[in-house]
């Protein structure tokens, strides 16, 4: 029997955040509040989650701890635009050169067959509006997998097990969570963002097994 995932979520106190993540049989969440002299203990967790709307000044200040956590085999989900240089090997860039009305999401590289667990096309529209969840794009590190790209081939969801000894899953901003404000055009679209999140969570037991084998 596989034990549940022990996850630590960073919170910068924004309205509504804590209702989006609900502990369940797959994952148990602890919350970590950002504050002055931020210096958290990351030990004992399988997964760090940096959700949509996070504090990237605080994350930059603990970048060495995050790298150490990853090099010990831990996992990181960053579902936000990290404008500071704290994610090892990757850079997020905000961009407004393309119209959001033209944004569509495409599967590029799916070595773990995650697309069996979510449908990229269901992420395209929210109430008939496209370009609703991803912003900017990722300049991904060599050797990482680009799971989803946008209309112009720019990485939006990246999986990296090469840059560090751990796992990094990065999105160019996204409300990925157990509950999401997501889409409501139809039932499939309503579930799309949560299904993407659940698919990404399925990588954590694989990573844990890999770490234990070592």
């Amino acid at each position: 029997m596989t034990s549940s995932i022990r996850a630590l979520i960073f919170s910068n106190g924004i309205e509504g955040l804590k209702s989006l993540y609900q502990s369940n049989e797959i994952i148990q969440y602890d919350w970590l509040e950002v504050g002055p002299d931020f210096n958290p203990d990351l030990a004992g967790y399988d997964l760090l989650i940096v959700p949509n709307g996070s504090d990237h000044i605080a994350m930059y200040r603990i970048r060495d701890k995050v790298l150490k956590f990853l090099d010990a085999g831990g996992s990181l989900f960053c579902f936000d635009g990290w404008f500071t240089d704290w994610v090892p090997g990757h850079r997020w860039v905000m961009d407004n050169s393309q119209k959001s009305i033209a944004v569509r999401y495409k599967l590029r590289d799916d070595p773990y067959q995650l697309a069996a667990k979510f449908r990229p096309e269901d992420l395209n529209f929210s109430h008939g509006i496209s370009g609703w969840w991803a912003c900017g794009y990722i300049e991904s590190a060599p050797g990482s997998h680009v799971l989803l790209e946008d209309t112009w081939g720019r990485p939006l969801v990246v999986i990296d097990q090469t840059t560090t000894k751990g796992l990094m899953v990065l999105t160019a901003s996204a409300p990925a969570a157990d509950l999401s404000y997501a889409t409501t055009d139809d039932d499939a679209a309503e579930r799309a963002m949560t299904e993407l999140y659940r698919a990404l969570l399925s990588l954590i037991p694989i990573q844990k097994q890999k770490t234990h084998v070592k």
Partner: protein, 216 residues
Amino acid sequence: MSNKKIGLIFNGVWSQYAFAKATKYRDCYVLLYIHDLNATQLDSVDALVIPFQSNHEAIAQHRDLLYHFLAQGKKVFVEGDSSAQWLDARWEDRPVNNFWWVKDPHNSPVSETDYSHPIYQGLKPRHAFWHYHGVYTRIPDHASIIQKNVDGDIVTWQTNHFGGTFLVTTLDPIVEHGVQQITHLDHFCDRLTEWLIGYRPEGKFEILKSDYGIAV
């Protein structure tokens, strides 16, 4: 270029950063990181904005600084949600309807706007409202109402009671303009900036790639 500066109380959120660093606004706005905030920083700016997705627990720790700032006759703009810990009003959450303009464009959720307010003067209805994040169900007795929704809840209000001017709204012009998915927010944000410091920004909202992936 403006000689006056607007302090943006910064929660480390990318959309707040993207707005303040855009070429159009970067000479007007200064990021003041909430966990480093002090009196010296506030003394150096002429007006303040507290954007949506702020840390209101942390802001409440600086309540006295904010009201001292207002007492000097300066302006403070608050958007999105807030907290009764530092603001004498009751904010309540509501579902965000950011799609009415697609589904039912002739029935805006906002029904009343005081277009005599300097920010709203000359704005078209679509430029004065896009969506709101919650409403106010109680505001101070000394406040005046600027916008209401169709249910009669308060969206935007203002008071001069504390020395300067406190303008509070559940709209989110700063954060939403940083996101760059609504293309007409220059109208509101330019007027907001002019109301705060007497200078109207010009030009395009350009994003510099060199502002991303930075050390701080």
